[in-house]
């Protein structure tokens, strides 16, 4: 853990580079960091208000809320999760020149991808607020300022997963293929497309025991509804995230010496 702190400059630099490199080559460069989520949320909003005309009253809760915005808000933490997983599983192979060529603090690699994906989701939140204000004439709730409280356990949760995936993907390359299906499946069992209120009693566990469901709900509560996430859920999720991080990091640290040999 101390190495992570010692190498904070390196993590910052790598994250910056990785983040910037995704937009490299385009003429607008970093503007795309805000433009592409903006386009996405604007598109979703337009589809669900003008084209399909589905307002949220037909589903549940706030009757005036555009379903596209509701959907996008849930997508933000999910995209961070899916990116951390799919990139984490490849992270060792992608950086083979660092792994095999120099003495490199390997701990920083998965964390860097997670941080990059979280920064991207912050831009997503920004885009969401812009659309909310401009298209729907709503100001975001003040509770959105509490979002960092969710971000910290989210960081632990996704990094824990990323560390585990990095190990798995390096040892068994097939995991990388499997993972895509897994990520797609979690999309459907998480209340992103469907509201929690509509879940039959028998399937409640999909919401109750799904850490992603907690994240999705918290983002919506804080940004769209001005409610605090349930205290119980927050405690459970935080503990689970911490545990996942500790386990993932420990496994990764134990096995990282073998990575150079496995490439």
């Amino acid at each position: 853990m101390a190495t992570l702190y010692d190498k904070r400059w390196l993590i910052k630099y790598l994250a910056q580079r990785q983040w910037a490199s995704s937009y490299q080559g385009s003429h607008l460069g970093l503007l795309w960091a805000i433009l592409s989520p903006l386009l996405m949320v604007a598109l979703l909003t337009a589809i669900f208000s003008e084209v399909l005309g589905i307002r949220f009253r037909e589903v549940t809760g706030d009757s005036t809320l555009n379903f596209g915005i509701y959907l996008y808000c849930g997508l933000i933490p999910f995209l961070a999760y899916s990116q951390a997983l799919t990139q984490g599983v490849n992270v060792i192979r992608r950086n083979s020149s660092l792994v095999e060529g120099v003495v490199f603090p390997l701990e920083v690699l998965p964390l860097t991808t997670v941080i990059t994906s979280l920064i991207q989701s912050l831009f997503g939140v920004g885009a969401l607020m812009v659309v909310l204000a401009v298209l729907e004439q709503r100001l975001p709730h003040l509770t959105a300022l509490l979002l960092p409280l969710v971000l910290v356990p989210q960081l632990l949760f996704t990094s824990g997963l990323a560390y585990l995936m990095a190990v798995a993907g390096t040892y068994v390359p097939d995991v990388r293929e499997t993972l895509r299906a897994v990520v797609r499946a979690t999309f459907f069992i998480t209340p992103i497309l469907w509201p929690t209120g509509r879940v039959p009693e028998d399937w409640r566990f999909l919401v109750d025991y799904n850490p992603l469901a907690y994240l999705v709900e918290s983002y919506r509560n804080l940004i769209l509804e001005g409610k605090l996430p349930s205290a119980e859920g927050t405690v459970y999720f935080s503990l689970f995230a911490l545990m996942l991080f500790v386990v993932g990091f420990a496994v990764y640290s134990r096995l990282k010496h073998n990575f150079a040999d496995l490439l």
């Binding site: 490299q24 020149s97 095999e100 060529g101 120099v102 003495v103 097939d174 150079a260």
Partner: protein, 502 residues
């Protein structure tokens, strides 16, 4: 306290025929085996004192990079320990640790941060690094646009700028032109003189010879020689020239080269076993003559470590091993070998006027004799060559059995190791060991055995074995056939001393 100390380090890789086999073995939790072990390094012990510049030699795949990677901490040894005292910087391979999408500037920063230097410090050093790497405006272009020389200069510049106590360089200097190599060497001398311990892998013998104070030689994962650079380089060159490796070198390594002309007799543990070699018999059938009371069963050419080879290093000791069987009882007998230079068919070229024929004249003459007896006995190209060729007249043609092109001969009687009376069925193995300070080229060895003082052979094989002498290294290039050991002394004539020493 040594800068680097390696104790009993071995590295095992498990080799699987396929990825699936690896998975199957993992999932069976040790109950089934699908792969096999490969030892990339075995029992390496190495101590490097601070300030040493150590050259690491070995053929490709000998384990050099694995060893350096283990010392650097990039890979873990399977057994054994490595202790490193001081800040270690490793540059393994060309542009390792560089991300080819990033610009040179970004990579310099990144590498500095990887090596644990504060960002601020790195920014301060940046100009020096860029100046040394000397890549001009390319510093802000992605690394993927760089030439290999630029990559290696940049990598080296970063590594050198960190001020390492121990620097590991793996083939990094190989790229780059003379100028950049020169400036890198300059920097290395500076580092060396400031007390940096340097471990260097290079196939450039010159670099290692000039730069290193010590060297080690790795072969098939084992450290087989260490010590002064000259000594280890000689060892390496012998190894390299032995292109054809014997099947089981490890066993033979333990044997010592015998003294010249000794006969193996009795049951000492070092004795070779007798060999009947049907391939050999078939191959030499046409070149064989003699009355047949004794028979040469096989002839082998061995290098200094008694491995069967085809090529040997200039000046090294070769052993011609003759397997001999007496088919009848024979009184005193004498075993002879002779060495000829050999030209492969089609290799004779027509000399220009006034040019001398070089080491192969003898053989050309021999061929010419054969051509005159029977023109069809030589190949077409040679025949054409001889059609309008006037052989130069040799002044004398040596004595009795001497054949044109013969470089030298030796016999048991001549060397004072007589072969006494032999009963029927007696088998012998006779070794002739001699040095070959010969011009590069191909040589053939003929072997014969004759009884007592008689001139007729019991068995004789013309060209029983052949070997090649590899090109001597730069310092030992010479003209002519043989390089006789020469001592040079420069005398200053009486009365002219002043002029010389001024």
């Amino acid at each position: 306290m040594p800068a680097v100390s390696v104790r009993g380090v071995s590295k095992k890789y498990r080799i699987f025929p396929s990825g699936r086999a690896r998975l199957q073995e993992t999932l069976s939790f040790g109950r089934k085996k699908y792969g096999h072990d490969f030892w990339a390094l075995q029992d390496i012990d190495l101590e490097v004192e601070p300030g040493t510049t150590l050259g690491v030699l070995g053929r490709n795949g000998a384990g050099k990079s694995t060893l350096l990677n283990i010392i650097a901490g990039i890979r873990q040894p399977t057994t054994g320990t490595v202790e490193v005292n001081g800040r270690l910087v490793a540059l393994s391979g060309l542009g390792a640790g560089f991300n080819s999408e990033f610009t040179g500037r970004e990579n310099v920063m990144l590498n500095g941060l990887i090596l644990g230097i504060e960002r601020q410090e790195m920014l301060e050093r940046f100009d020096d690094i860029a100046a040394f790497a000397d890549i001009g405006e390319f510093i802000d272009q992605p690394i993927k646009t760089y030439s290999s020389g630029m990559r290696s200069r940049l990598g080296f510049a970063v590594a050198a700028s960190v001020g390492p106590d121990i620097l590991i360089l793996d083939e990094t200097l190989a790229a780059g032109d003379a100028v950049s190599r020169e400036s890198a060497l300059q920097k290395m001398y500076e580092l060396r003189d400031s007390g940096t311990t340097i471990l260097l892998v290079s196939h450039g013998m010159g670099t290692i010879k000039d730069f290193c104070t010590e060297a080690v030689l790795l072969h098939e994962g084992r450290l087989i020689a260490s010590g002064g650079t000259d000594e280890v380089i000689d060892h390496y060159q012998t190894l390299v020239s032995n292109i054809r490796q014997s099947k089981n070198p490890r066993q033979k390594e333990e044997e010592q080269p015998p003294d010249g002309g000794a006969i193996f007799e009795g049951k000492a543990s070092k004795d070779p076993t007798f060999k009947e070699d049907l391939d050999f018999e078939r191959r030499v059938a046409d070149h064989r003559s003699g009355t047949g009371e004794a028979r040469i069963r096989s002839v082998e050419l061995l290098d200094e470590r008694l491995r069967q080879v085809e090529a040997v290093a200039f000046g090294s000791t070769v052993t011609v091993r003759v397997y001999l069987e007496y088919l009848e009882a024979v009184g005193d007998s004498e075993l002879l070998i002779s060495l000829h230079s050999q030209v492969e068919p089609g290799q004779i070229t027509k000399p220009q006027e006034g040019q001398f024929y070089g080491p192969n004249l003898g053989y050309v003459l021999e061929l010419y004799e054969r051509y005159r007896e029977n023109p069809v006995s030589v190949d077409e190209q040679t025949r054409e060559f001889f059609e309008d060729w006037n052989p130069p007249q040799p002044e004398t043609n040596g004595h009795a059995p001497g054949v044109a092109g013969e470089l030298f001969s030796a016999s048991t009687a001549l060397e004072g190791v007589p072969l006494k009376e032999m009963e029927k069925g007696k088998r012998m193995v006779v070794d002739f060991a001699f040095k070959v300070p010969l011009q590069k080229g191909r040589y053939k060895v003929s072997v014969g055995i004759c009884a007592g003082d008689e001139d007729s052979y019991l068995d004789r094989i013309d060209g029983a074995t052949t070997f090649r002498v590899a090109r001597p290294n730069n310092r030992k290039r010479f003209r002519g056939i043989v390089h006789l050991p020469t001592q040079i002394k420069v005398h200053v004539p009486e009365g002219e001393r002043q002029g010389w020493s001024a």
